[in-house]
């Protein structure tokens, strides 16, 4: 029996009434009135304030912890230390997660949690933390990943032996894994090239910068039932992990998602949540922990810093012949950077047959990294698109034309094994070439840069339900966190399937007791995957509606069709019956035949890859090294934009995050291994006056695996940004920067070197 994954029913000629418009999103009213409840917005009777004590040392053995004075302080109701966490083996996934939530043998970064208290007020909790005595044996630390790879570097984990290295010596190391990905024959490919460009690049770690710090409230009853309210990108994944590290059965844990004040990958892992649960269990009262902004910077997962060497070759008539790269990714104190995305994605959009990449993941004394949009990819595309740009200059070809000449199309077999179905890279390039921005002359004194990017777009395990009420209105139950507005898009697809106005559909974000397993909101998968299961659920509900119409009319089931929100006789032969609306059928039959609903759980596949082209014009104050972004256009293939304004918003938000990453955002560490800029004052994200309007062009090359042709759009918009800006800066100052961020002191130095060289 074919499922929606085999036969999506995609019909390019179908007239759509709701999909493709931009209705006001249903969660909008609560957000513009302040009513929406985010992680820190829940209050329960008897609630205590939880606070975490964090290591001031980047690397230290924890010899002993004495919390007796803290426990004795009036108002303190519980203290939690490593002794309260179940023992889990070092180097296992659960063991790493547990140790990141609270240090066990060692503190591994400035900010690593070492103890926690719950008290009746914040001031008492803070006072209690000061009374906890920790005996640290301070160890030498290492921050920079290249330094961490050296044979005499301080070792973070005794158990690490490099994966992926044949006959790895049984020697302690900070190199977690070596990954080699290749296809074809790069040496032969480079031999055929008429021009080769090779450079080294480096990028500093940065942070996702979500405006909402993590906030959670945990309760635990006397019989061990745990309720956790938290901002999360994955309630079910959180629950599974809590089960693993706290050894509490999953059905005894209910994770309820709050509204999410930004995640971008940074809230796919938990931080204070296990601690809050253990405190609540000890105190027998609800415990709320809200991280301060300083804790967010010091203690949650930043984004990988990288070093790379990238080389590409091209023939004089513009065909790429080979590409290779050596990459180093910094993962912080524990493995988990998802660095494999980079070699898989970095060249994937070009019709390359000869590629070789060698990537290393390295631990160092920084917080464990977490995902950002397109984890580990924008950092290396920063280099790739610089090399491509330079190759275009070397052979005298327009930068977009060179990419058009090499654009991968349907049937291309990628380095990670997938063969592309219909994709829109070529169409996106052509749209970019013809867009008003690209056709307009570069204003005097400015420079223009172009870059392209790719993201796989994921599917994954998803569950959803569609319920029809007795009056015919509809509720959809979703398990994928809405980070930006996916729930309205999914509601629109349900409404389109059912032929009803979108206002008759309401989305409910489920907790883990109320719905089956859902993978995290990540990988640009949410609208696609939850959309798929809700459409599947809608179709199942429609089948039931038809069955009931057939019963009402006394005709065979195949005599009924569903159109425009109504069941009708399939033909006049079946009989003359006026159409029955969903409300009619639900009203007539719910009491006797039961609820009408559809439900679906599947591992959603068929998510179509996304491609983007960014064009940016910049001005550079060459006496100060300051960059001004003058004009920015994002051209990206969405397959089908379900909610147009929503899709534009994703493009614009990604572009501005990339502007920040490109120009000013970085983690600054002192010689002492402590983070020097854990605040929004010195972690410099773009403000409204820093950026222009971001123009967007939505290209639609439908993904036929999806009923409406959609592709994910969340991550592609960040991938080409830094490269495009660097290319533009290079056009102005004569040398293309190779180090992120391109902050004023670094740029001024480059400008002076370029002047000196002339």
């Amino acid at each position: 029996m074919s499922t929606i994954l085999d036969k999506s029913g995609f019909n390019p000629d179908r007239k759509l009434k709701i999909v493709g418009t931009s209705p006001v999103k249903h969660d909008g009213i609560d957000k513009v009135t302040g009513r929406a409840k985010f992680g820190a917005d829940l209050f329960l009777p008897g609630m205590l304030v939880g606070k975490i004590l964090r290591s001031p040392h980047p690397h230290a053995n924890i010899r002993s912890i004495d919390a007796t004075a803290a426990e004795a302080l009036p108002g303190v109701k519980a203290v939690v230390t490593r002794a309260d966490f179940p023992e889990l083996p070092q180097g296992s996934a659960a063991g790493d997660m547990s140790r990141n939530a609270m240090a066990r043998e060692k503190a591994l970064y400035d900010g690593h949690p070492v103890a926690a208290v719950a008290a009746t007020s914040e001031s008492i909790a803070k006072q209690a933390l000061k009374l906890i005595r920790i005996d640290y044996e301070v160890l030498p630390h290492v921050i920079d990943p290249v330094e961490a790879m050296k044979p005499d570097a301080p070792i973070l984990h005794d158990h690490i032996r490099t994966k992926g290295v044949k006959d790895a010596a049984d020697r302690k190391t900070n190199v977690v894994e070596r990954l080699e990905l290749k296809m074809g024959d790069v040496e032969a490919g480079f031999a055929q090239a008429d021009a080769i460009v090779e450079h080294e690049y480096d990028t500093m770690p940065m942070h996702q910068g979500y405006i909402e710090p993590q906030g959670c409230v945990a309760t635990c009853t006397e019989d061990g039932q745990v309720e956790l309210w938290c901002c999360t990108q994955g309630p079910w994944v959180f629950r599974d992990r809590l089960t693993e590290i706290l050894k509490i059965e999953s059905s005894k844990i209910r994770v309820t998602q709050s509204e999410l004040g930004g995640g971008f990958g940074g809230k796919t892992g938990f931080y204070a949540e296990p601690v809050a649960i253990l405190l609540a269990r000890k105190a027998k009262r609800p415990v709320k922990i809200v991280l301060t902004r300083g804790e967010v910077f010091r203690g949650t997962g930043p984004v990988s810093g990288t070093r790379s060497r990238i080389r590409m070759g091209v023939t004089r008539d513009g065909k790429f012949t080979a590409a290779d790269a050596e990459l180093i990714f910094q993962t912080g104190a524990f493995t988990g950077s998802m660095f494999f995305n980079a070699p898989q994605a970095m060249f994937t959009r070009y019709d390359l047959k000869n590629v070789k990449t060698v990537s290393h993941e390295v631990v160092s004394n920084r917080p464990k990294v977490n995902s950002f949009r397109a984890p580990c990819v924008p950092q290396v595309v920063f280099g790739v698109e610089g090399v491509v740009n330079e190759l275009a200059q070397k052979i005298g070809m327009d930068p977009i034309d060179l990419r058009i000449r090499n654009a991968a199309t349907e049937g291309y077999k990628t380095i990670y094994g997938e063969t592309f179905g219909p994709i829109g890279f070529l169409e996106t390039l052509i749209a970019a070439k013809n867009c008003e921005h690209y056709k307009s002359p570069v204003p005097k004194g400015q420079g223009r840069g172009v870059a392209t990017g790719f993201w796989f777009n994921r599917g994954g395990e998803t569950t959803g339900t569609l319920n029809i009420a007795t009056d015919g209105s509809v509720t959809i139950i979703l398990g994928t966190t809405d980070v930006a507005g996916s729930r309205i898009s999914i509601s629109m697809m349900a409404a389109e399937e059912l032929g009803i106005p979108v206002d008759k559909v309401r989305a409910v974000m489920a907790d883990t007791h109320a719905l089956g397993w859902n993978r995290i909101t990540a990988g640009s998968r949410t609208t696609y995957s939850s959309g798929m299961v809700i459409i599947d659920s809608a179709r199942k509900a429609i089948a039931e509606l038809c069955r009931r119409a057939a019963l009402i009319w006394g005709v065979p089931e195949d005599g009924v069709v569903f159109e425009d929100g109504h069941c009708r006789p399939a033909s006049s032969n079946v009989g003359e019956f006026p159409p029955l609306s969903i409300a009619d059928i639900a009203g007539k039959t719910t009491l006797t035949l039961g609820a009408i609903a559809g439900h679906s759980e599947m591992n959603v596949t068929g998510a179509g890859p996304g491609f983007g082209v960014h064009i940016v014009d910049v001005e550079v104050d060459q006496d100060l090294g300051r960059v001004d972004i003058k004009r920015y256009t994002v051209v990206e293939d969405a397959g089908k934009a379900i909610h147009r304004l929503q899709v534009e918003g994703q493009y614009q938000g990604g572009a501005v995050q990339g502007i920040g990453w490109a120009l000013n955002e970085e983690y600054v560490y002192g010689e002492d291994g402590r983070l020097q800029n854990p605040s929004f004052l010195d972690y410099r994200m773009p403000v409204a006056s820093d950026v222009p309007m971001i123009d967007t062009e939505i290209v639609e090359v439908p993904n036929p695996r999806h009923p409406y042709g959609l592709r994910g759009v969340g991550e592609v918009p960040v991938t080409p940004t830094m490269a495009a800006i660097a290319n533009a800066i290079g056009a102005v100052i004569g040398v293309r920067p190779r180090s992120l961020p391109m902050s004023p002191p670094k740029l001024l130095k480059l400008i002076e070197e370029a002047r000196g060289a002339r």
């Binding site: 931009s22 006001v24 999103k25 969660d27 909008g28 009213i29 609560d30 957000k31 513009v32 009135t33 302040g34 009513r35 929406a36 409840k37 985010f38 820190a40 917005d41 209050f43 007020s121 914040e122 001031s123 996702q208 910068g209 979500y210 405006i211 909402e212 710090p213 509204e259 999410l260 004040g261 930004g262 995640g263 971008f264 809200v290 301060t292 902004r293 980070v483 930006a484 507005g485 304004l645 929503q646 534009e648 918003g649 614009q652 938000g653 990604g654 572009a655 501005v656 995050q657 605040s679 929004f680 004052l681 994200m685 773009p686 403000v687 409204a688 006056s689 950026v691 309007m693 971001i694």
Partner: protein, 159 residues
């Protein structure tokens, strides 16, 4: 036991009282004592604007005022922006033009934008951007926020 201070203030036209510790901020008091959670904490150092409120007509960050200072003052927060069922034109335009994604920065931005339009009913794009420079947004890239404010300004001018 830390000595607490008694504060009586008007919030969105209603009279409220609370007890606060001397080091608590107005933001703490609004959220934790009065349960008015529409005003958000993004940084508690005045760098993000998520806690923007009005006190005696001045636009401030609630995290940069002590709770005890609010005694006798008139405070306006996001909860008071709509008039009953009638949304303020700014709220309506943000909804129609998709001027919000996750919504965490939205209350602060709406209050700040309202103050701007009360002072300057016809701001340029640049004036709006510089006025809102103290309100960080990470989702939208600011584009649709600025458009929503300009559209609301046009509507309020009757243009």
């Amino acid at each position: 036991m830390t000595r607490k201070y008694h504060v009586a203030a008007t919030v969105n036209g209603d009279e409220y009282e609370y007890l606060c510790e001397p080091q608590q901020t107005l933001l703490d008091a609004l959220r934790d004592e009065l349960m008015l959670t529409g005003t958000k904490e993004g940084c508690a150092t005045g760098d993000c604007g998520a806690c923007t409120v009005m006190v005696d007509g001045a636009m401030i960050c609630a995290c940069l005022m002590l709770a005890v200072e609010a005694d006798g003052k008139k405070i306006e927060t996001i909860e008071g922006m709509a008039q009953g069922e009638d949304l303020h034109p700014l709220q309506r335009n943000f909804l129609e033009l998709n001027g919000l994604q996750c919504g965490i920065c939205t209350p602060g931005i709406l209050i700040a934008a309202k103050v701007l339009l009360d002072r300057n009913p016809d701001p340029t794009e640049t004036e709006v951007r510089y006025w809102l420079a103290g309100n960080l947004c990470r989702c939208t890239g600011y584009d649709k926020i600025i458009r929503s404010v300009l559209a609301a300004a046009r509507e309020m001018r009757g243009a």
